[in-house]
């Protein structure tokens, strides 16, 4: 039994002849503790797929199972980090991270401490009292990841989280994500259209076709980390995956 299973998911918007199909048929299995990247061109339904796994969208066909049990709507065992900056603007960084704990009824002192600890792991000590708009884009996404981690989810869903930060920040954030992933041992489902990013992060890469999305190929990557030190292998993988995408 796989940890997280996406079984024959299809998603159509609207109905009748005017309906558009976002996802045709997607099946994938994520192992516990694995970092899986879903790679696909813009508009292939990657975001839709993630929203379905998060329980924010209902699939037209198919189902999602976590530990063999079908998911019921959304829940804090599957937290999502969004592509756009999506922090609560009226809460400080620390309060944002503590938000999920507050929902569970944790007391103010305890959750402040928890938020402080996680923000520290993300390299954001001393920024707890700033509001989101006072932080840089990269910092905001780190706070968003910390917020999603704080409730101790079973699966962390990331929807192109680094798409809107500059290239240098992106590299640092990717390295930090890997460090956090190893430290917390979370199962991660990461969506991107960036081949390089997929290669740097993934245990396995699932390539989706253009809209309507279906699984084109699945690769297991055996390049040791840190992967930046294995440029030749990265390059050959990049070529292979690019070919795969062009054919699709």
């Amino acid at each position: 039994m796989s940890f997280l299973a996406v079984e024959g998911i299809a998603k159509a918007y609207g109905d009748g002849p005017g309906a558009t199909l976002a996802l045709a048929e997607v099946t994938l299995e994520v192992r516990e503790g694995e970092l899986m990247v879903v790679l696909g061109p813009s508009g292939c339904g990657k975001t839709t797929l993630l929203q379905i796994v998060a329980g924010l969208e209902v699939p037209t066909r198919g189902r999602v199972l976590l530990r063999g049990r079908p998911i019921q709507g959304w829940g804090r065992e599957r937290t999502l980090v969004f592509q756009e900056y999506n922090l609560f603007p009226w809460l400080t960084a620390g309060e944002n991270v503590a938000f999920g704990l507050r929902l569970q009824g944790m007391g103010p002192g305890e959750r402040r401490e928890a938020a402080h600890r996680i923000l520290g792991r993300m390299g954001l000590t001393g920024f707890e009292h700033l509001y989101p708009h006072q932080l840089s884009g990269g910092m905001r996404q780190r706070v968003a990841i910390a917020r999603a981690l704080a409730v101790d989810p079973e699966v962390l869903l990331l929807d192109e989280p680094f798409a809107s930060v500059d290239a240098l920040t992106r590299t640092r954030l990717q390295e930090e994500l890997l460090r956090i992933w190893e430290e917390y041992g979370k199962t991660v489902l990461f969506v991107t259209h960036n081949i390089r990013e997929a290669l740097l992060l993934a245990d396995r890469i699932v390539v989706l076709t253009a809209r309507p999305g279906r699984v084109r190929a699945c690769f297991g990557l055996d390049i040791p980390r840190p992967r930046r030190e294995h440029l030749a292998e990265l390059a050959s993988w990049e070529e292979r995956i690019e070919r795969e995408i062009v054919i699709s």
Binding site: L56, F82, N86, F88, P89, F99, L103
Partner: protein, 257 residues
């Protein structure tokens, strides 16, 4: 007090124009005479009594209207099904001006405070309701989604995401509503009451005491200003997070381009 020079200029015109005979001093008594009249009304206690009565009516009507319009506006804003059912009625009630409710208010509530409070309520609740409703429709859906995946129930999402997100709009509506309440109270007090600034003014008009009318108007102005100041102070405290986010920071002072 950067607003003071403009105010002083208007007062100066108010003083000079009737004195020079440009305006008839009977129709517009000069400022100093009105000020003297205000002084005697104050020392006799008459002005304070009328002002206090009007203030209480404003606060009562405004509080009732806020208690109804804010929850209802959020509810209708989040439930399109309910909103569609309410739209027609709201659209037809809105054009009815507050004084139009006076006859019914007197028939239903007799004379005294209650019809006045009712008229203020009717004159403010709809505008605030529509304002809150519109703002609720504009709340960022993505923030709610983020809350859901962190484990929020729908109720928690309303209290911890929708409501704080709406606070800037709610404050704007409170200020609009408070202004409207002052407009309504004078109209409401012109009939069927024996106290209040509106009563004082309509009495004065009947006796052709324009100075007393002007004292009444000025009193409304000053009290309205003070209450608005209070609301704005509260707003600044509650919405401290908005500092650094507001559009006016890009315009205004030092804008040399």
């Amino acid at each position: 007090m950067r607003g003071l020079p403009l105010l002083l200029m208007v007062i100066l015109l108010w003083e000079v124009l009737p004195r020079l005979g440009v305006l008839d001093p009977v129709l517009l008594p000069p400022f100093d005479l009105v000020a003297v009249r205000a002084g005697t009304l104050l020392t006799s206690g008459e002005l304070l009594l009328h002002a206090a009565v009007s203030l209480l009516r404003v606060l009562a009507g405004f509080a009732l209207a806020s208690l109804v319009s804010i929850p209802l506006g959020i509810g209708l804003g989040l439930r399109p099904g309910l909103r569609e059912r309410a739209d027609l009625l709201l659209a037809m009630l809105r054009p009815i001006s507050p004084p139009a409710w006076i006859p019914l208010a007197i028939l239903w509530f007799g004379i005294g405070d209650r019809p006045a409070v009712f008229i203020i309520f009717m004159g403010t609740v709809l505008a605030m309701l529509v304002g809150v409703l519109t703002a609720t429709q504009g709340v960022d859906k993505r923030l709610i989604k983020a809350g859901f995946t962190l484990g929020a129930t729908r109720r928690q999402a309303v209290w911890l995401i929708v409501l704080p997100g709406l606070l800037p709009a709610i404050f704007a509506q409170l200020r609009v509503g408070l202004g409207l309440a002052w407009m309504c109270v004078i109209a409401a007090e012109m009939v069927a009451v024996r106290q209040g600034l509106g009563y004082m003014m309509i009495q004065a008009r009947n006796l052709f005491q324009t100075d007393r009318v002007l004292v009444g108007m000025a009193t409304v102005g000053v009290m309205g200003w003070l209450l608005d100041l209070l609301l704005r102070g509260l707003e600044r405290r509650v919405l401290r997070w908005r500092e650094g986010l507001e559009a006016h920071e890009l315009f205004g002072r030092g804008g040399d381009r």
